[in-house]
Amino acid sequence: MFFTLVFSIFFLNEAYSVDPEEFLQNSKLELRARNITKNIRCLVCQNQSIDESSAPLAKDLRLLIREKVEEGHPDSEIYKFLEERYGEFILLKPSFNMSNFALWILPFLFLFFGIYVIFLHNKKSKNF
């Protein structure tokens, strides 16, 4: 008795994780939409994309993105739309702007600095 009760409480309600019914018929568009959902953060989860999330909000966003893709909006426009509506936090790949300048540039500066250090070491050693 208790057993069935537990099952009826916990397992019968429909959750909101990825559902094949969400997918677009056109496989090219679907691929694009799927890719976008992988780069969008689930706002109510901890470090998950909406593609992986089973939160209701994530499902809404997945449907919204697919709708936009089907309507023919390019990726950049969709990202921009989401960013304006939900804030920069939603983008898992931070956009390249003034405040994120250091985030994108510094690794390359590190790289050049590293190459410089190696050459410096090499040159100094040879003179010795």
Binding site: V6, E14, Y16, S49, E52, G87, K93, F128
Partner: protein
């Protein structure tokens, strides 16, 4: 009673750590030895005793201890009662201290006639670090705190942590993090040393090696277990998510990798000493910063099991103290360790140097990505995310040259080699790489630029090892002593670890590039095809586990010839005590691929959402990690020489 004994043992550990610290400040050598012997052994015994007391409290479910009440439950299987000890913040601090005490003891065992002041200084620093964590535990996170009235049963704990891989993940990881404390102590002790003679100092660097190897080796396997867990528990067929907490373990690993290799250069060529000192300090600081990031709850992450600002502030202050002290000391005293020796690109030491720098660049980039959202938020108030796409586009390209250099490294000698000779030596490699790459791309039947790069790197590293082995072997046979200096000897440990890296790259590449995914709604009786396999959804059962209920799917997998290969049983579990649910993926593994099934939501009318993955060559990731671990262990054994003529 036992809990009180445990609490008392922590205080005694504090006393012994304090004794060791004060005793190491003395001038009288005999006294130092006497007190440090008592202190090192006492610290080890009592930190172990307090840890055992906590384990005992968990085993008997002593809910008068608040920590046990919050993290355990009588219905939990014994093994998970024990692993719950380190599955929470307070208990894991006790483990952290125990590992510190173990490393402290091994440092103490190094005492001999020539390294007296060095070991004493190391013990002093190690005692200071241990004191820091003991105070932290006693002041902010005492696992033996009592509650009254005694609750009838515990609150249970997070069921996703109830898992064998995650049970041993923390202890392995802690040996890694804490192992760097020994490297840190040695590094500071070397900087404090008065001996100007380079030869003597080289011997001290040798002391550091087994400890660094231990830390790096266990960190490697600890991270691997975390990844295995993520792979089958999170249910997305992935195993690395660039979660801040994963980054926190990856950063010390990168510096540890650089450190392990630099120490070889110190031994063989007496170069890079200054570099090693800095790396050793930074590795430990990053380990503690990692702890800070996790424990303070400053990052939103699945691992943030402690949300208490006072802890964060304490650790931050501790980092500030040891960081300022060690780095100031480094900038003041490290000059005497800088070498002006000749380092060219085309030499073993050159390849080590290049790899070192790349590891540091990657580490700095990961650090940047991890803390950037915090920086932006505190300055502008904007919240931003730095997720997987960022790391994939930054870290992966920077890693590639490191792997190319790593491949060629074993082929180079410790001295200069000219470029044409290198090209000539590499010629068979190019052919091997070409054939091997063609073979793999043909097998997977689709072209992908990342796949191609990964397979080339894998073949490149592997072929270099094979051909160096062959040339080593034939040389030993024909010209035994003559060419001794020309061709470098390859040690078994290095060979094993590097083959491990090659296989790891193969697994990582194949499973991320050539993964196949099917997400469909299925009713019982229906079937689907994935990559030559026919998967039949046979039935759905309700089952009852030890402390959970589950829906269990029964899937039959047939191959092309309609032969039954396996039955897979993915589950959806409910843990009624904490009202948590988990998905348990079912995986069939062989050397070629994993078949991975996850049971999703749904009902009997519409069918259930089923996710099926075909993940090629995943097992080679784990085999690779295991080989790196084994290589590390062998090297550790070969490099640890406790004093035979102790005082």
């Amino acid at each position: 009673m036992i809990a009180t004994l445990g609490n008392f043992s922590i205080w005694l550990s504090l006393l012994f750590a304090f004794t060791q610290f004060v005793s190491s400040l003395q001038k009288n050598n005999k006294k130092i030895i006497k007190f440090n012997t008592i202190a090192a052994i006492g610290l080890l015994l009592f930190s172990m005793l307090s840890f055992l007391c906590l384990i005992y409290s968990y085993i008997v479910s002593d809910f008068s201890v608040s920590n046990v009440f919050q993290n355990s439950h009588t219905t939990k299987p014994l093994i998970y009662k024990i692993s719950a000890v380190w599955g929470n913040h307070e208990g894991s601090m006790l483990l952290w201290i125990l590992v510190l005490a173990i490393f402290n003891f091994f440092i103490f065992k190094l005492y001999n006639k020539i390294n007296f002041s060095f070991v004493t200084n190391s013990l002093k620093i190690q005692a200071f670090v241990t004191l820091g964590f003991l105070f932290f535990t006693l002041l902010t996170s005492n696992p033996f705190e009592k509650i009254f009235p005694v609750p009838e049963n515990g609150l249970g704990f997070n069921p996703i942590l109830q898992d064998p891989a995650l049970a041993i993940h923390p202890p392995l990881l802690y040996i890694g993090y804490v192992g760097f404390s020994a490297a840190f102590s040695f590094s500071v002790a070397i900087l404090l040393g008065k001996d100007k003679k380079l030869e003597n100092n080289i011997l001290l660097f040798d002391c550091m090696r087994p400890f660094v190897l231990a830390a790096w080796t266990f960190l490697t396997i600890g991270i691997a277990f975390g990844s295995i867990w993520a792979y089958y528990e999170l249910g997305w067929g992935g195993w690395w998510f660039w979660d801040p907490v994963e980054n926190a373990s990856f950063m010390p690993w990168l510096l540890g990798t650089a450190l392990v290799h630099s120490l070889i250069a110190v031994k063989k060529k007496k170069i890079l000493q200054k570099w090693v000192l800095l790396l050793a300090i930074l590795s430990f600081l990053l380990s503690v910063i990692g702890t800070f990031l996790v424990r303070s709850g400053i990052l939103t992450s699945v691992h943030a099991f402690a949300l208490d600002p006072s802890r964060g502030i304490y650790i931050l202050a501790f980092i500030a103290i040891i960081g300022t002290y060690s780095l100031t000391l480094f900038f003041l005293n490290s000059k005497k360790f800088s070498d002006k020796k000749y380092v060219t690109f085309l030499s073993r030491e050159g390849s080590i140097l290049i790899n070192n720098i790349i590891m540091i660049i990657v580490c700095a980039s990961v650090f940047l990505g991890t803390v950037y959202p915090l920086i932006i938020e505190s300055f502008t108030g904007n919240k931003i995310s730095v997720g997987e796409p960022y790391y994939n586009s930054i870290v992966v390209p920077i890693m590639i040259p490191a792997l190319i250099v790593m491949g060629v490294g074993p082929l180079l000698s410790w001295n200069d080699i000219n470029f044409t000779k290198l090209l000539k030596n590499s010629f068979p490699n190019f052919i091997f790489v070409f054939i091997n790459t063609t073979f793999f791309v043909w097998i997977f039947g689709s072209f992908n630029i990342f796949g191609l790069i990964g397979i080339i790197l894998f073949s490149w590293i592997l072929s270099n090892i094979i051909f160096t082995l062959i040339s080593n072997y034939s040389l030993i046979k024909s010209l035994k002593a003559l060419n001794k200096n020309k061709i470098p000897k390859i040690t078994n440990s290095m060979l094993i670890a590097h083959v491990g890296v090659a296989l790891l790259i193969l697994g990582v590449t194949a499973s991320s590039v050539w993964q196949k995914e099917k997400i469909i709604r299925m009713k019982t009786g229906e079937s689907i095809k994935i990559n030559n396999y026919q998967v039949v959804f046979k039935e759905l059962n309700e089952i009852k586990g030890e402390n959970y209920f589950a829906l269990q799917g029964k899937f039959l997998v047939y191959d092309k010839k309609k032969l039954l290969i396996t039955e897979l049983n993915p589950e959806n579990r409910i843990y009624p005590i904490t009202n948590n649910s988990t998905t348990e993926a079912a995986i069939h593994t062989n050397l070629k691929r994993d078949l991975y099934i996850v049971l999703g939501d749904g009902n009997s009318d519409k069918g259930r959402v089923i996710r099926i993955y075909y993940n090629p060559l995943v097992i080679w990731i784990w085999i690779g990690a295991l080989l790196i671990f084994m290589g590390g262990l062998i090297s550790m054994k070969n490099n640890y020489n406790p004093s035979k003529n102790s005082i």
